[in-house]
């Protein structure tokens, strides 16, 4: 009897040790990797590489990356949230809903190179757009739409049933209860989906290869959005950091600049994640009443 408990205790301690070991291993791996990329990238950089210039710098690419992700979220977040609401609150079980779910699952597991090709065919060949930031952003939207849809659906389904009942019980319409009660309550969780989607967008290269091109000649101060050198023009080719890294490694062989671009890309993703997490925790705390 005693022996059995002792054995169980030993096994428990051993397993605890193993779990801590694995956690420590991942932490060390992450630290070593980010440390190497960020420190290595920044150490090998020269000041002019940070400029917003046509060549030999990363400023314009950094801007393109952020702008492209922003445009892509502008499309995928509303669409994905609406689709998620539809699936959680309106869809009746049946053939159409099943079909829709299969589509979303398929979409979420498509390799990004295929989505890029699809974007190329639809936006460039079929719709006649040039290689452009918009075509790239829309391709990223296709990639991230399923993620935002499923996060929203899960978030709504995970809420206490009482919220919806209370809303309806006060004479709200279905949409009022969804929009004024359920959706605000879901924002922290939807934010998680948006963070993941943005992270995917920041790092994506394959889907952008055929769609955005490699433009980096911007004239800062040119705010005429129809001009091909205006930073705000979405119909101009736009090299992002990830494409730049790829270009530098395959064509120009400028390792120092590529390393800096990697470091900045990693920092961008880290800062974005930390910021978005802090914001979503703040909302969560506010909702749950710990804070005024």
């Amino acid at each position: 009897m005693d022996k059995r408990i002792q054995r169980a205790r030993r096994a428990d301690r051993a397993m605890t040790g193993i779990f801590y070991g694995i956690a420590a291993f991942f932490f060390a791996l992450l630290l070593a990797f980010t440390g190497k990329v960020i420190i290595g990238g920044l150490m090998g950089a020269s000041p002019e590489m940070f400029a917003f210039a046509r060549q030999g710098a990363i400023g314009n690419q950094l801007f393109n990356t952020v702008y492209l992700v922003f445009i892509s979220l502008l499309v995928s977040v509303p669409l994905g949230v609406f689709a998620g609401i539809y699936l959680a609150m309106y869809a009746k079980p049946g053939l159409f809903t099943r079909f829709l779910r299969i589509c979303i699952e398929t979409l979420s597991s498509l390799p990004s190179i295929v989505v890029g090709l699809f974007g190329y065919l639809v936006f460039l060949v079929f719709m006649g757009m040039g290689k452009s930031l918009l075509a790239g952003a829309l391709s990223i939207s296709i990639l991230t739409l399923p993620l935002i849809t499923t996060t929203t659906e899960d978030a709504i389904k995970g809420l206490p049933a009482g919220y919806f009942q209370a809303g309806m019980g006060m004479g709200s319409t279905r949409w009022q209860a969804i929009f004024h009660v359920l959706l605000p309550a879901c924002i922290p969780r939807i934010m998680t989906g948006v963070i993941l989607a943005a992270g995917r967008g920041f790092g994506e290269a394959a889907a952008l290869l055929y769609t955005t091109g490699s433009g980096s000649s911007l004239r800062w101060g040119n705010w005429d959005i129809t001009s091909p050198t205006s930073p705000l023009n979405v119909l101009r080719p736009a090299e992002t950091l990830s494409i730049q890294i790829w270009n530098l490694q395959t064509n120009a062989q400028d390792a120092a600049l590529a390393n800096l671009a990697s470091a900045v890309l990693l920092l961008l993703v880290l800062l974005f994640n930390i910021g978005a997490n802090a914001w979503s925790r703040h909302i969560n705390r506010k909702n749950s009443g710990e804070k005024a």
Binding site: P160, G162, Y163, Q165, A166, G167, M168, G169, M170, G171, S172, T173, Q176, H180, V181, P184, A185, K286, N287, S288, G289, E290, K291, A292
Partner: protein, 251 residues
């Protein structure tokens, strides 16, 4: 003379093929507290929800018979949204929205289109006072309602319902998740509110029904077995099954 608020005639309700309410007929008076008692699963909540058409949200529900409120058929002559403005509901689990105390109470008025700050302030204060919780909450109107105790949450939910100025308040076991002190506060509140509202309360607590209600209906397996003045039901039950239940011989 007491006015009749609800007149229910030959009401039957099915969940799919399950016959949940069996041929119920009764008149529920205005400005009184009517209690529904009976063992769990007998259809009290189901019956309560037919009075503000919350059953409409469920699938596979079929209802026949008539329910009239103030002589209007609520299923054929009113739409569910308008009906629910007049018939508010308080649920078993306190379910404040994850919003501030103020925004909880202002929710109803806002969806009816009231936007003016001064008007909303006034409604929020009046509703919280009516629910006897203004003094406790007046300094934390901007804090989340989820930080309140269960009893406070439930009174907040009552205030939230009062803010839409209903005529009827349905309460489904509103105190079953609360401690005795919070329970007696809600009971006092219900007795205070019946001056201005019609209150229908489901309870599995017979002492509660005896303490606060004017009329009591006893349900069993989807049937309304006996309905009458509360003191009669408890002192001189006519049906053997009612007597067995209130004397605790089953249930």
């Amino acid at each position: 003379m007491l006015k009749t608020k609800f007149e229910i005639e030959h009401l039957n309700l099915h969940y799919g093929s399950f016959h949940a309410l069996k041929n119920i007929s009764m008149k529920i008076p205005a400005n009184e507290i009517t209690a529904f008692i009976g063992p769990s699963g007998c259809g009290k909540s189901t019956f309560l929800k037919t009075l503000n058409r919350m059953n409409d949200l469920e699938e596979n529900v079929t209802i026949d018979g008539t329910v009239r409120m103030d002589e209007k058929d609520i299923y054929s002559e009113m739409d569910a949204i308008t009906l629910r403005h007049d018939v508010g509901m308080v649920f078993q689990q306190p379910n404040p929205f994850p919003k501030s105390v103020y925004d909880n109470v202002a929710y109803g008025p806002r969806i009816f289109g009231i936007r003016k700050k001064s008007q909303l302030d006034e409604i929020v204060e009046r509703s919280l006072r009516q629910a006897a919780i203004w003094n406790e909450l007046k300094d934390r109107l901007k804090k989340s309602a989820l930080g309140l105790s269960g009893g406070q949450q439930q009174r907040l939910c009552i205030a939230r319902t009062l803010a839409i100025q209903p005529k009827v308040i349905l309460m489904d076991e509103p105190t079953s998740a609360l401690d005795p002190i919070s329970t007696s506060k809600i009971e006092d509140l219900a007795m205070e509110l019946k001056k201005d509202y019609t209150i229908i309360i489901v309870t599995h607590n017979m002492q509660q029904a005896a303490r606060i209600s004017d009329k009591t209906a006893f349900f069993l397996l989807g049937e309304a077995i006996e309905y009458g003045k509360t003191e009669d039901i408890f002192a001189r039950p006519q049906d053997k099954r009612t007597e067995n239940y209130i004397t605790g011989r089953f249930g």
